[in-house]
Symmetry: none
Subunit: 241 residues, 2 copies
């Protein structure tokens, strides 16, 4: 069973979130302070950390960075951002290394979907997590997820945060079709109201920057997109069985 650490200082929110996660079958740890959360993360190695930004002791941003600094902590991080009209930019989340974010206020249903989506991406990795796939490469493409860098034929290409996340998400479930709405919820987030056509645009931009490696991102007409390591357009000869 998956272990989730909730770091949130507002007691009401902490209670509700913890209760619902437990009801949903997760093992839940809670912390009310940033430093306490970091300590628990290091000692308990949760699969997922739900992290508030405004925290006493240590800010969520700092906690996030500290967690990411420790290579032994391979779990995912979802940041809960107060939608107080300030810099709620998802970029903030990405900059410090979070995998996703949830704008406050959120419904439990929304949060559960996000949590589920996060675990879906990691394809059911048990608690004794081997070091996550921080880099992957094949053919002319090489991607360092942790460093947020990508190369094509040895030449580094510059991807925006969105493009990078789209690439990683596609690769996470390579050789499987991913529908547009699935990509939207995984890359953009559930509460984002963006049209599915937006996916197309970003796929196009991604392909553009990928250049020769663009063939890996395949269109499955009427369904979605698929990251394939055996692109049809690049396999002239049949495979053996």
């Amino acid at each position: 069973m998956f272990k989730i650490l909730v770091v949130e200082d507002e007691r009401d929110i902490q209670d509700v979130v913890a209760y619902n996660l437990q009801q949903a079958g997760y093992e839940v740890l809670t912390a009310g302070r940033g430093d306490e959360g970091l300590r628990l993360a290091k000692s308990q190695r949760p699969d997922l950390v739900l992290l508030d930004v405004m925290l006493p002791g240590l800010s969520g941003k700092e906690v996030c960075q500290e967690i990411r600094r420790d290579p032994a902590l391979a779990g995912m991080i979802i940041i809960m951002v107060s939608a107080k009209g300030e810099e709620i930019d998802r970029v903030i989340g990405f900059e410090v290394g979070a995998d996703d974010y949830v704008p406050k206020p959120f419904s439990m249903r929304e949060l559960l979907l996000r949590v589920q989506s996060a675990f879906r991406r990691t394809t059911a990795r048990p608690t004794p997590a081997p070091p996550a796939e921080v880099t992957f490469e094949f053919g002319v493409l090489r991607v360092d997820v942790a460093a947020h860098r990508a190369w094509v034929q040895g030449r580094e290409i510059e991807l925006t945060a969105l493009e990078f996340k789209l690439l990683v998400t596609l690769h996470d479930r390579k050789n499987r079709v991913q529908r547009r709405d699935t990509l939207l919820s995984d890359v953009w987030g559930v509460s984002m109201d963006v049209t599915t056509r937006t996916v197309d645009t970003h796929v196009k931009r991604l392909r553009e920057k990928l250049g020769d490696a663009g063939v890996y991102v395949e269109t499955v007409r009427g369904v979605g997109y698929r990251f394939s390591d055996t692109p049809e357009s690049a396999v002239p000869q049949s495979e053996e069985g």
Copy 2:
């Protein structure tokens, strides 16, 4: 969005329940018979099944057991129990593998609460991804459902979304005849107003692309089509009579 299948023979109840669930934002399928409900459950894979106990064709109990027998169907089941029975009914619901029950008569508010509660629990399942039959193959045909790709004799063939769905649907109940209207509701969907002759056209196109594997799709004159792994035309031993 969550998909709910309502299996209920009383038309009034079916209408009210379906309408309210739709109003609540769910995708709703309906069936008036037990066997029809089971078929829809298998083909549409709803996240939740609302199941009446007293049903023509196949009792709710049997439907429930059949659903639970299929490991590919991971959705939840709520049984709607006629209160004119005794508390026995309540126990029955759990015995046959239902996740919850609602005593009749119930208010929509009550039912909606129960449904929401079910989804809270269901979202828990870290493995909602059905380990369904993602690939199947026999003879010269190989199909990767997740990747949405198909091969005949090692050579990849390009199927449209509809053709692919038709192929998978046929294969889902291989060696069994599927009538045209059945295929229409399973592949095209219930609200589609399409002629049954359309099925013929697409079967023809599918056969064409399948090439040597086209023999698997057999015509059952006056009824529909059948996906057979032992095609008549491929059986050398034949005795004319």
